[in-house]
């Protein structure tokens, strides 16, 4: 947002590009949960574009992005975030869009030293090179500290008006935002991608390990954003809705999963995710009994002597099990993903 402002001040026509990978933390992702209902449901990229008065192009890269996540050349960051490969990929897609739409150069809001992996002085040239953008990639917020780019050498932009920000502190950016009258802005970098989230990365890592492959579909990664995930046995896990919003969301997946819900008490919708590569691909009676006890545990009947739980198979056939809720102290911590 600030990088675009700096360019607009030089009279440069700017348009925005926002990539949708499937791992994005959207206002609507938060909105699935009741407790996040107070957060704005806006799409932040669209909101920023409106503030800047620029067009925004939202580009879906779900399929192409898989190779970035599955096999990052530069490895992962603290969790399963392939930040350097991701940056190279996105700038590369932006370069492609630039060429197809008659634009002259790309700007990003990067600052030297702001991120440990992708925004270091030694990794910035990697992004420029691997994206194919080379010296048509301008970083207005730290450009003064970097070698002159083509737009600077050609006089399209004034290098003297670029900034020389560096480091992890965002105080200079906040001061700039205040100067521009921007008092509401999106969360700082790192907060917009689930791959930087430890809990999410644990769930994704578990999915890869259990399946024996890193391949995934969009529904797989969407479901990792929702619910409490427990793996009581290697070949199946439970996805337990934590509130009405999540239960409603999980309803949309009922037909693809064996699912459970208490009928004698109110409680969550629970999906059973069965892995065929982790030994048995079938749920036996003992598995269903355990899943039913866990389902009862997370509902309002948790303190009751018995709870009736409906179990619906993949053919839509339902049957009731009357079970004792599993006590909290019988749920090992390692079951929680």
């Amino acid at each position: 947002m600030l990088a675009a402002k700096v360019m607009q001040e030089q009279g440069i026509h700017v348009e925005g590009i926002n990539f949708y990978t499937g791992f994005c933390v959207e206002g609507h992702t938060h909105a699935i949960r009741n407790e996040h209902r107070d957060k704005p449901k806006r799409n932040n990229a669209l909101w920023v574009a409106e503030q800047l008065g620029i067009k925004l192009h939202i580009i879906e890269v779900i399929e192409e992005y898989k190779q970035v996540v599955i096999n990052p050349k530069h490895g992962y960051g603290a969790h399963l975030n392939p930040c350097l490969d991701c940056k190279g990929f996105m700038v590369g897609k932006a370069r492609q869009w630039m060429e197809e739409n008659g634009f002259d150069f790309i700007i990003t809001g990067e600052v030297i030293g702001q991120r440990p992996m992708s925004q270091r002085k030694d990794t910035m040239p990697i992004v420029a090179r691997e994206s194919g953008a080379f010296d048509r990639l301008v970083r207005p917020l730290c450009g003064k500290s970097l070698p002159p780019t083509l737009p600077e050498r050609e006089g399209w932009i004034d290098r003297d008006k670029l900034l020389d920000l560096s480091g992890r502190s965002r105080k200079p950016q906040m001061a700039m935002a205040e100067k521009y009258g921007l008092n509401d802005y999106a969360q700082p970098a790192g907060g917009c991608c689930f791959l930087t989230n430890e809990q999410y990365a644990n769930k994704l890592g578990d999915m890869w390990k259990t399946r024996g492959t890193k391949e995934y579909e969009i529904d797989d990664i969407m479901l990792l954003k929702v619910g409490r995930h427990l793996r009581p046995r290697p070949h199946f896990k439970l996805i337990v809705g934590r509130d009405e919003g999540e239960n409603n969301y999980l309803q949309g997946y009922r037909k693809k999963f064996v699912h459970l819900n208490a009928t004698s008490h109110t409680g969550p919708l629970v999906l059973l995710d069965v892995s065929s590569s982790a030994g048995s691909s079938e749920l036996n009676a003992e598995d269903l009994w355990l899943a039913a006890r866990l389902t009862a545990r997370f509902g309002h009947g948790r303190d009751a002597e018995s709870v009736v739980v409906s179990v619906t198979d993949l053919n839509g056939m339902a049957r009731d099990l009357t079970v004792a809720p599993l006590p909290a102290n019988e749920i090992p911590a390692e079951w929680y993903l």
Binding site: E26, H28, K41, R42, N43, L46, E50, K55, L56, I58
Partner: protein, 76 residues
Amino acid sequence: MSEHQLDTRGLLCPMPVIRTQQRVATLATGDILEVLASDPGVLHDIPAWCRVHGHEVLDTARSAHEINIRLRVRKT
């Protein structure tokens, strides 16, 4: 001028916006596009996208399970 329909029911934001963007790119100025959706997020996002690109939202309607947004494509 012609009228068109786009069904994005079952998709979560931002996919309905992306599909709308892709469809509008194929339409002519003055054409009308009706977007069917199930994610309430479109009530915010599609009008925002239209404002950013200069298209006109003609009307929005919401029933229990469906949202309809009609927009007119403007030259941008």
